[in-house]
Symmetry: C2
Subunit: 149 residues, 2 copies
């Protein structure tokens, strides 16, 4: 007996896989097992903020067979083609963000957690004139937060 739930689950997996393969091919990358594995961790559901190490740990914990070098390769390639963006918050490690739209962040300096702030929830009235011959590449607002007291 095939329930609606089962059908959906199955269908979603296929769709998900297909979507990922298309997404990778669409940016000129081969849909290798490793990239599909990484992609399934990064692009299934909610937006995420990861480091190479944290993603590698997660992949290993999920039983995926993938080297840290490949994680670095994939994160950099995904970033280069616009599937990810970097977030500068910690001088000792690079954070990657699956939300590539223009948005801002809360950074919990106590535990290193990043939280998105929708673009329209922060109004940056940018009065200063740019240096001559320069244009804006992007605007990042980082609100560092910490526990009370």
């Amino acid at each position: 007996m095939v329930t609606m739930e089962n059908v959906n689950t199955h269908t979603n997996q296929n769709e998900s896989h297909q979507t990922l393969t298309d997404k990778l091919r669409g940016v000129g990358l081969r849909a290798t097992r490793q990239r599909l594995d990484i992609g399934s961790l990064l692009f299934s559901g909610k937006y995420r903020h990861v480091t190479a190490e944290s993603l590698h740990d997660e992949a290993i914990a999920a039983g995926m067979k993938i080297s840290l070098a490949t994680i670095y390769n994939a994160l950099n390639q995904f970033t280069d083609v616009g599937l990810l963006r970097e977030v500068l918050v910690d001088p000792t490690r690079t954070y990657f963000d699956t939300n590539t739209s223009s948005h801002h962040h809360f950074f919990n300096i106590d535990n290193g957690h990043l939280t998105d702030i929708p673009h329209d929830e922060i109004n940056v009235s940018c009065l200063p004139t740019l240096p001559d011959g320069q244009i804006i590449d992007g605007v990042d607002v980082l609100i560092r937060i910490k526990p009370v007291a």
Copy 2:
């Protein structure tokens, strides 16, 4: 013959030296030759954005005898006591800022140059509510700029 200019220069040097010594003692640091040298580069005049390496190069070029380790020590100590602040713009190196007041930055992604934006020239209307039990430690606005075309 002692001109006004000479007097002033001499006086300023003394004052400068005195000020620096006081500044260091005021934060509980001994006024060593190395810290006075570094301080003279950092705190004489306009605000500056430096890296350990750039400051070391500059010190050596100025004939100062000081190791890179001491530059790192001093920059970290100065930061710890509030004489400097760090600016996050480049994942590969740490920038230190002699302007410790609340302000923002233009970052030229082409040449790595930082330019201050006075605090009051950017209006950050922060609508989002903070996660529970958290307070704001600081707000950083970074405007990445690049050459036209």
